[in-house]
């Protein structure tokens, strides 16, 4: 990992932000660092790593935003990342953002941070929300009981930041380890002491970690620790014996007892510092009232569908005109450069490379930008307002019956617009398995770029049943997505099914600032990461269409045409074994709608006249098989780029290409052969 501090520079401070999801941690990060942030990935995992920087007095403070977690037990990637950072990188200060209105559960993480021996500063956030709910917290007393400084803050309003920054510099220069420890009870404490003695006796391991924390983790049987640290067999044997004895005594397992003790300690703390505790039967808050409507038995689904419709419209209805502008801009620019190059005597080859290859390539990356930014704007609002969790809650029953998670529904719906934002929207899924499956199946949802292809063939052959034929393709996509989802779950991502233990955070009004920052972060990362791949594919296809030197662009003699002629027989069983169909499919990898333009170029006609040409040279059955193929085969370059970006692996991007290609071919052949048998032609 980076950020090695070989020589301690007194003016430089490294702090980490830790906190529960929905505790206002991200807002705090934005408020502290402003625009000076950098988003990357933690090494080896797909978890986002956000870093930023700010200056306070003479100090330069580097801020690392750890993933939002409820605990540090390392069973999810997020938690492992957060824990490893704190344990191994040892930031000068760990700022723990605590939701004041939800003190009990938030302090669970705080106690773990304290137990790890981190230099903790608690930011008691959303202090106003707590006050609104008549929760009065004795801050001094809380600080005393936890043994760490506690600063009240309201991150959305930027309140308390100065005090927090002040405390951070003070704490960084006077490291303070809380002396407070949870008393796990006589029996456990005895075992802990014994484990600690054994660890320190064998040296080595103890240096890197806080001894007591290590002992607690070993006793809990935390796999993250027991696997990464070499423990002597003798120690493990002793631990196992002790656990067996204790568990028999309590009739409950170690994990439960320790969680219970922790919460017991926390309960003691909150009883002392909170004057009016929010009881279970307190009167309905505004959030409850909204919930009563939004998750209502009868209104819940219509409201959810309406919300999805609005997101969809917002993303595509608002974004598509902008796409037109961007396309127009690039066409104009391409023309300008083309004439310019021609005038200075550049060869046709060079002009084509610059105009068709480079400018067109950049254009095809940027056309997605409006959709993506708008979509992420909408998703950020859904997330920050608290509705996203409800959407998952409402849809889980349905999605779970398909072996997926409630949150998978949103990416799949978005997939009808465009696979790229759909794949990126899977980030809201916590469980890696659910996320991988959703990424792999969302390209099967028929995106808007496939519609022009359907329209071409439908108007050539099926004008009587247009709607029905197009609908059948959308439907086929959904059915295949479901089937593949189930198969992937069964064969590729086996194991324990993901659970649905999810917080439903109170509704909050999202701030424009954080929504914009969210949108920018995610949108710009698409341009950077997926953009290069898309660009590379576009240029590669240009090269294949223009070589060997002297051939007509994308003609049968070009390398691409030769590849098309070579692969054509493969598609013979599917009814479209001609070189031009193959070339159109290869071009379709750029973007599915390019299939239409390619066929037009090859046949040397405009897109208008193409319908007639198709009607004369294709059969209806072959046309339908070709549409099925277009629906399923290889996601477009942008989607492949997005898959690579989101799975952080070429392997999975390759797998997505391969499985859709095979599935598409199989379905097309099935349609053609089956149709032929039934007497269609």
């Amino acid at each position: 990992m980076e950020a090695v501090k070989s020589i301690r520079d007194v003016s430089k401070i490294v702090i980490a932000l830790a906190g529960n999801p929905n505790s206002g941690k991200t807002t705090m990060f934005n408020e502290l660092t402003g625009a000076r942030q950098h988003v990357g990935n933690w090494p080896g995992v797909t978890v986002e790593k956000k870093e930023g920087m700010y200056h306070y007095q003479d100090f330069q403070v580097q801020v690392v935003d750890l993933p939002g977690t409820y605990s540090l037990s390392a069973y999810s990637e997020d938690e492992a990342v957060a824990r490893d950072y704190i344990a191994l990188e040892k930031p000068d200060v760990v700022v723990n953002i605590v939701d004041a209105a939800n003190l009990d559960r938030n302090l669970y993480l705080t106690m773990q941070l304290i137990e790890m021996g981190a230099n903790v500063v608690v930011a008691l956030n959303m202090y106003d929300e707590a006050q609104k709910r008549n929760i009065e917290i004795n801050i001094e007393q809380l600080a005393k009981l936890l043994g760490v400084p506690v600063i009240p803050t309201i991150s959305v309003k930027g309140k308390g930041l100065k005090e927090l920054s002040q405390q951070i510099t003070v704490s960084a220069n006077n490291p303070n380890k809380s002396r407070i420890r949870i008393d796990y009870g006589k029996e456990i404490e005895e075992v802990l002491r014994e484990i600690q003695e054994k660890i320190s006796a064998c040296g080595g391991i103890a240096e890197n970690f806080n001894l007591r924390w290590l002992a607690v983790k070993i006793l809990e049987g935390d796999e993250g620790v027991t696997k990464s640290v070499q423990l002597p067999d003798e120690l493990m044997k002793m631990r196992n014996n002790a656990v067996q004895k204790l568990e028999a005594m309590w009739g409950d397992d170690m994990e439960s007892v320790m969680a219970e003790r922790r919460y017991g300690f926390i309960g003691g703390v909150t009883r002392e510092v909170v004057t009016r505790h929010r009881s279970v039967e307190e009167k309905m808050s505004l959030s409850d009232k909204i919930d009563g409507i939004v998750t209502n038995r009868f209104l819940g689904i219509p409201i959810f569908l309406a919300a999805m419709w609005v997101v969809f419209q917002f993303t595509f209805a608002l974004g598509d005109p902008m796409i037109g502008w961007i396309e127009g801009l690039f066409e104009w620019f391409g023309g300008l450069v083309g004439t310019g190059l021609d005038r200075i005597g550049a060869s046709e080859m060079i002009i084509s490379l610059v105009v068709d290859g480079v400018i067109n390539g950049i254009g095809s990356v940027l056309v997605f930008v409006p959709n993506i930014f708008l979509l992420f704007f909408a998703i950020s609002i859904l997330e920050d307002s608290g509705y996203m969790a409800r959407a998952a809650y409402i849809m889980d029953r349905f999605m779970h019956s398909l072996g997926l998670h409630g949150k998978s529904f949103i990416p799949m719906i978005i997939g009808f617009g465009c696979s790229v934002p759909a794949i990126m929207a899977t980030r809201t899924l916590e469980n890696k398995r659910d996320r991988m499956i959703t990424i792999l199946i969302s390209p099967l949802m028929s995106c808007s770029a496939r519609l022009p292809v359907y329209i071409l063939f439908v108007s050539a052959f099926f004008s009587a049943n247009q709607g029905l034929v197009i609908f059948s393709l959308y439907f086929l996509g959904i059915v295949l997505a479901i089937i593949m989802g189930v198969l992937f779950k069964k064969f590729l991502f086996k194991g324990e099914t993901s659970h649905f233990v999810m917080e439903l955070p109170p509704y909050r009004i999202p701030t424009l600032k954080s929504t914009l920052i969210h949108m920018w972060e995610r949108g710009s990362s698409y341009i950077r990461k997926a953009g290069t791949i898309i660009f590379a594919v576009v240029v590669l296809i240009w090269v294949l269409s223009s070589l060997p030197a002297g051939v007509e662009y994308a003609s049968q003699e070009s390398w691409l045409g030769q590849i098309g002629s070579f692969t054509a027989p493969v598609f013979k069983p599917a009814g479209f074994g001609t070189w031009d169909a193959s070339v159109a499919l290869i071009f379709g990898i750029l973007a599915k709608e390019v299939v239409v333009a390619t066929l037009a170029v090859i046949h040397g006609v405009g897109e208008e006249a193409l319908t007639q040409v198709i009607a004369n040279t294709w059969t209806p059955l072959a046309a339908y098989a070709f549409m099925v193929m277009t629906l399923i085969y290889i996601p477009c370059a942008a989607a492949i780029g997005a898959i690579k970006r989101e799975t952080n692996s070429w392997k999975w991007a390759g797998f997505a290409v391969l499985y859709t290609l095979i599935l598409g071919w199989l379905m097309a052949v099935l349609v053609y052969q089956g149709g032929s048998l039934l007497g269609f032609n």
Binding site: A101, S256, T295, H499, V501
Partner: protein, 229 residues
């Protein structure tokens, strides 16, 4: 032939409830079962449907529920087992009757059906214990059985709670990462939980735990046992 081994603990509760209602009432209606078990009528309907499929009960649409011959046999067995367990806890181990009732119920739900089967076989077969306490057992079995049968049972799986009901956690039988997450989110033994609502499709459920809203699938909530308050 359906044996006790392959029907779930909660279905066994149903059989026992139907049997007992049928002994005191003329007909057994869904409402009676729902009241006795303290479960929402919708869930009762569902389970009765399953029992019907298994050929243990018969029911015309909206009509009364009746045990089939097989069902009656099984219900008798369940009740007998429940009482055996209860008397064992009370008379041999000296557990307080109230706690014993709760624990007997918990054991039936958490322990594997095979172990339960063997345990009751053992209790029935173990003559030395039977002989030594026989007189008191016969007497008490009657009274506790009655007492327990008259009042609605208080130990429930969290998934069976109705909207607005509250309970205190007494046992978490979840496994793996779900268990970890459940514990971390603040559901530990002794925690108070109330059911705030259900998703439109009837699952998952929304709970209030430690002052915040948490959602759980019913299948996950089925592993958390609470004492209804």
């Amino acid at each position: 032939m359906t044996g006790l081994l392959n029907i779930s603990a909660s279905m066994q509760d149903y059989l026992e409830a139907i049997l007992e209602i049928s002994e005191s009432e003329r007909v057994v209606r869904i409402t009676d079962i729902a009241n006795r078990l303290n479960i929402a009528k919708a869930s009762v309907n569902q389970t009765i449907g399953k029992l019907k499929e298994m050929g243990l009960v018969t029911q015309q649409i909206y009509g009364p529920v009746e045990l089939t011959g097989n069902g009656k046999k099984l219900a008798d067995k369940v009740r007998q087992r429940h009482r055996k367990l209860l008397t064992f806890l009370v008379d041999v181990l000296g557990v307080e009757p109230k706690i014993a009732e709760k624990d007997a119920c918990l054991m039936e739900h958490v322990v594997s059906s095979q172990t339960m089967e063997r345990l009751t076989e053992f209790l029935v077969a173990n003559s030395s214990y039977n002989d030594s306490v026989k007189s008191t057992v016969d007497h008490r079995e009657e009274s506790y059985g009655k007492e327990a049968g008259l009042k609605p049972m208080k130990t429930r799986a969290l998934s069976e709670l109705k909207i607005g009901q509250k309970g205190k956690v007494i046992k978490i039988a979840s496994k793996g990462t779900a268990r970890k997450r459940i514990l971390e989110m603040g559901i530990t033994t002794g925690t108070e939980i109330s059911v705030k609502g259900l998703a439109p499709f009837g699952d998952p459920m929304e709970l209030i735990v430690k002052g915040y809203s948490l959602s759980l699938r019913k299948e996950e909530a089925a592993d958390i046992f609470v004492e209804v308050q």
